[in-house]
């Protein structure tokens, strides 16, 4: 877990990839891609079923850590069409007491009626005290944007030609991209930039990533 202040609000990054907004007691979770494993199985690719349960236990863990009043999914909650994983999701949601909101993403094609039946509010975006919550990254005058969609990861390099790639929170001056929360989702390697801050997920910790500026490629000579 790692705390950070953004515009006088305090946020906690969880090692699962969830982000807790303390002042509002909101937990942000992005790109869970529920139903992906079942979707693959339905189409004849035998991805291990046990991976399905992981998403729910991870969400449980994050929820128990912060006990938020509201959970906001930043899009791509469900991977594709309805399948049996929806039933698991239904059971999971009804066992919880907090409010749920879905800021819908490009993968969210399940009928809004299904969500409404579970009392999950669906929005295309949400602006709250100058913080803009979206699925796709947005630039908006005066607002700080939290978004998902990209599944960011970062590559770390060290002496001895060592390198490691880790999913991360990727923050610039006015934006922060959340890592994909879901199991079996994959990630995209980001390039570090000037004035950006990167926080890598490391199993059971969140680690601020030092960024080293390198001039140009070294060349070998005989």
């Amino acid at each position: 877990m790692h705390g950070i202040m953004i515009r006088d609000n305090s946020f906690q990054m969880h090692y699962s990839g969830a982000l807790f907004w303390k002042e509002k007691s909101i937990l942000l979770i992005s790109d869970v891609h529920l139903g992906k494993v079942s979707h693959f199985r339905k189409f004849g690719a035998a991805v291990p079923q046990q991976a399905i349960q992981k998403n729910f236990t991870a969400m449980d863990e994050a929820l128990e850590t912060y006990l938020p009043k509201t959970v906001i999914f930043l899009g791509d909650l469900f991977h594709s069409h309805l399948n049996n994983e929806w039933k698991l999701f239904e059971a999971w949601v009804t066992s919880k007491t907090m409010d749920f909101i879905l800021v819908s993403g490009n993968h969210d094609i399940i009928s809004p009626l299904k969500y409404e039946a579970l009392k999950i509010q669906i929005l295309s975006e949400l602006l709250l005290d100058g913080f803009l919550l979206t699925h796709h990254l947005e630039e908006r005058e005066g607002a700080f944007n939290f978004a998902g969609h990209i599944h960011p990861a970062i590559r770390l390099n060290g002496l001895g030609r060592q390198s490691v790639r880790l999913p991360c929170f990727y923050k610039t001056n006015n934006q922060m991209i959340l890592p994909a929360f879901g199991e079996f989702t994959g990630s995209y390697t980001m390039e570090p930039c000037e004035d950006c801050e990167v926080f890598a997920l490391l199993g059971d910790a969140v680690l601020p990533v030092p960024i080293k500026e390198v001039k140009k490629k070294r060349k070998y000579r005989k």
């Binding site: 004849g44 991805v47 079923q49 060290g158 002496l159 060592q162 994959g186 890598a200 030092p210």
Partner: protein
């Protein structure tokens, strides 16, 4: 008609052409007509096609004495070729035979290039003689009523069997043959193979290890001795010749006179990107060749390839820069000279390429070897010896490829369905699955039907269903369609089609390369400079560009390694650097100054010595080992040693390998004395340690990629059809992790490890080299800096492996994300 009369028909035909049949051709005719199976060992350009087309047609004549007037329709013979490009050539020779002998037989081709219309027509009425690829044969097995198609088929010929044998397409072939043996009652199975080390085994794999077919079979050797001359291109100024590199462009000017001197020259490169670069650079430096040189590799569209092949035959080209795409088959008489750029990593391949020149019986073949860096000259010298001694390597067949078996079973389930008991007997008779246990067979069946080993509620897995009478069958059209598309992808990354925006297909390219491009970037592909516009529907849209670029399309492809025999020759050449100068080959002589520098900074090892060098650079602490055993053995030994050292204390390595040795690079020094004191080269617990080291590196993970695709776990989309299935695309890496975390006992997951073990690491060879090292004195040299031997290794940035016994948190403490300053 008796055999004598049939033979007369063939002999007369040869006489009309002013030819005389070779003994091996007559031998093959006889054996075939006697109803035998067999393996014909004959090189390309030797008349092997006539050795088998003739008896196939003669057999038809025998059974249909009224052949001139009546035509008995239906498939009689299948000719399998690994390369689509070869099918035209084979068709021509077949057509010549059937027409000249006055039969009414028809010849057809069925491959990925065949139009849907032609295919539908074939399905209604098969040609008598069918030329096809292993994949297209599988597709035939995936069509309803395939047993009727093959009912009266009398023969199947597998051409270039040596090329298919050591691959998964070979396994595909074994499975198809196992089915056809049952379906076609009077089938003769024949293979044609160039010389390889394990000829007998090649026959066994083709026919089945304990089969009746093998019992009733022959091996026929063509024994055509061809004179091959190898000439190394040695730079005049050795001092400025680089120590590393893989392109060889420094010697470009040396190639020009060679091209000018001969009618047509083939320049063989090892990779497609190297091919592109050479083509570009020759034109840049010598624009006068414009229109007279061409490029040929597997990712260029078919029309261009065919055009190039025809242009070679018509003698309108001075030179063609190519890859292994021109290794096989097609008879190019005008080719006078062949240039091999960079080490061919195999004697058989080198011989085959040499054979592309003087491609007529009796003519001499000339091949030039162009080294890409100094040390490669040692390899050149070793190659010369190998050619003289005709040392060729083995092709190792696969064992227990569960991925291919799952694919095959799904294929059968799509067409007419199958009964497990019947198919198990057939499958267990093949070489690949001779040790398949009933337990694993059941596992595979469960996997096909349930996607796991036990039925789960809520699960919607859908693939193969079991019908009431126990028949395994696919009834879902989507599953069937996806599977048919997938059959061709026995090897593969996601391939994207490269097209002009206005239309016009240029070729295919791997997604990983495209993913690095931004709009407006210019890259070289198929010898053209193309500007990247966008990716749409699995297509890469481009337009021509005049801009210069250094981005050359690249393909991952497979890396090649030196065989055991070649490695031994290589070591001998190296040791000869110590002998009197007149005993040395000219290549070794030209390397004198490099050996001298190596001796100054370290040593050149003797047969009784094993060299280890350590030094420090800005990259970290290097430890370089030189077993000279070929890349694969080094990969195994490097991981093994890295793993054993990492047990002494937590450490992380980056490993690099080449054909001469391997490097362990770390951010902290290795205590080499401790390594030696602990006898880390021991063969004790070899298997166990090697297995554990595999978990510590990522080799198996890479093997898993092919397995996931072949078994249908990863769907690659339909690149040529422009259909995308994005919602079903996943990456095999991700899948690997899910299996590792949740289903490590999955046979497909396990297969990735066994394959790495058996095909990549060559455990047997590793053991032998460790035993050799045990007899040598270990010479540990602490050097100031990288020696000439170490140089090519430590500068390898691309194909590195990593191995760690440290906790991730500890490693990361010393790392940072890199921000490139412009």
């Amino acid at each position: 008609m008796n055999r004598e009369e049939l033979f007369m028909i063939a002999k007369n035909w040869f006489q009309q052409q002013d030819w005389k049949p070779f003994p091996f051709q007559k031998e093959t005719w006889k054996a075939f007509l006697q109803g035998k199976h067999g393996l014909l060992n004959a090189p390309t350009g030797s008349g092997k096609t006539y050795a088998l087309w003739f008896p196939i047609v003669l057999n038809y004549i025998k059974q249909n004495p009224d052949y001139k007037n009546k035509h008995k329709k239906g498939l009689k013979a299948v000719w399998i070729t690994p390369l689509r490009a070869l099918s035209q050539e084979i068709r021509q020779s077949a057509e010549r035979v059937v027409t000249d002998l006055g039969t009414q037989m028809t010849v057809g081709i069925r491959s990925g290039d065949t139009s849907t219309k032609a295919r539908a027509q074939q399905k209604k009425q098969m040609p008598d003689l069918l030329i096809t690829t292993p994949e297209s044969l599988q597709l035939l097995l995936a069509s309803k009523g395939y047993d009727k198609i093959f009912k009266d088929c009398t023969s199947i010929v597998v051409d270039e069997w040596h090329e298919i044998l050591g691959t998964k397409r070979g396994v595909q072939m074994e499975l198809a043959l196992s089915r056809l043996k049952t379906v076609s009652k009077h089938l003769r199975i024949w293979g044609i193979s160039a010389t390889i080390g394990n000829m007998e085994q090649a026959r066994e794999v083709l026919l089945g290890p304990q089969s009746k077919a093998l019992e009733n079979s022959v091996m026929i050797k063509a024994n055509i001795n061809k004179k091959i001359t190898v000439k190394s291109i040695i730079p005049k100024k050795m001092e400025t010749f680089p120590w590393r590199g893989h392109l060889g462009l420094h010697l470009l000017e040396y190639v020009i006179p060679i091209i000018n001197k001969s009618k047509t020259t083939l320049l063989f490169t090892n990779t497609r990107s190297q091919c592109e670069i050479w083509f570009q650079k020759i034109l840049e430096k010598h624009p006068e060749f414009a229109g007279e040189i061409a490029i040929h590799h597997g990712s260029i569209n078919k029309e261009t390839r065919v055009w190039v092949e025809n242009a070679i035959r018509n003698e309108t080209l001075k030179a063609v820069v190519c890859t292994s795409s021109l290794d096989l088959g097609v008879d190019f008489a005008p080719v006078e000279t062949v240039v091999q750029i960079g080490g061919p990593k195999g004697v058989a391949r080198f011989l085959q390429r040499a054979g592309r020149s003087g491609h007529r019986p009796g003519k001499e073949s000339v091949i030039y070897f162009l080294p890409t860096h100094a040390i490669e000259l040692i390899e050149a010298s070793a190659l010369q010896k190998a050619v003289k001694q005709n040392t060729v390597e083995d092709r190792i067949p696969y064992l227990n490829s569960y991925d291919v078996l799952l694919q095959y079973l799904t294929t059968l389930a799509i067409s007419d369905g199958f009964y497990p008991n019947e198919i198990f007997r057939e499958v267990a008779d093949t070489f690949c699955y001779q040790a398949l246990s009933e337990e694993n067979w059941q596992w595979l069946l469960n996997f096909l039907v349930m996607g796991s080993q036990s039925l789960q509620s809520y699960d919607e897995y859908k693939k193969v269903e079991v019908e009431e009478d126990g028949k395994f069958k696919v009834n879902n059209r989507g599953v069937a369609m996806r599977h048919r598309f997938q059959i061709g992808t026995i090897v593969g990354d996601v391939n994207l089609t490269v097209k002009y925006q206005k239309g016009g297909y240029i070729g295919t390219i791997e997604e990983y390369f495209v993913s690095k491009l931004n709009k407006g970037d210019v890259f070289t592909f198929a010898g053209r400079n193309l500007e990247f516009i966008r990716i749409k529907d699995m297509q890469v849209h481009v337009r021509n560009s005049k801009k210069k670029t250094s981005k050359v399309s690249s393909w991952m492809g497979s890396r090649l390694t030196l065989s055991a025999q070649m490695s031994e020759l290589l070591r001998k050449e190296l040791y000869s650097s110590d002998e009197a100068i007149e005993k040395q080959s000219i290549e070794i002589q030209s390397l004198a100054h490099i050996f001298e520098r190596q001796r100054r900074e370290s040593i050149v090892p003797q047969p009784s010595e094993f060299l280890i060098e350590t030094f420090k650079s800005r990259d970290g602490y290097h430890a370089v080992f030189y077993p000279f055993e070929g890349r694969f053995v080094h990969e195994a030994m490097g991981s093994l040693l890295g793993y054993r050292i990492s047990l002494l204390s937590p450490i992380t390595f980056s490993l690099a390998f080449n054909d001469y040795g391997f490097e362990l690079l770390s951010d902290k020094p290795i205590d080499m004395q401790q390594v030696l004191d602990n006898d880390l080269f021991t063969t004790d617990y070899l298997l166990d340690d090697l297995q554990k080291s595999l978990n510590a590196t990522e080799m198996a993970r890479r093997k898993f990629r092919d397995i996931a695709i072949i078994s249908g776990m990863v769907f690659t989309g339909y690149p040529n059809k422009g259909i995308k299935m994005k919602h079903l695309q996943s990456n095999s890496q991700l899948l690997f992790e899910v299996f590792r975390d949740y289903e490590p006992n999955n046979l497909l997951f396990q297969q990735a490890f066994t394959e790495t073990f058996e095909h990549q690491l060559e455990e047997g060879r590793l053991r032998l080299s460790l035993e050799r090292i045990a007899t040598q004195n270990i010479m540990w040299k602490q050097c100031e800096k990288a020696t000439p031997f170490a140089f090519p290794l430590i500068t390898d940035r691309l194909s590195r492996e990593k191995l760690s016994s440290e906790k991730l948190e500890d490693r990361i403490k010393r790392m940072a994300a890199i921000l490139m300053k412009k």
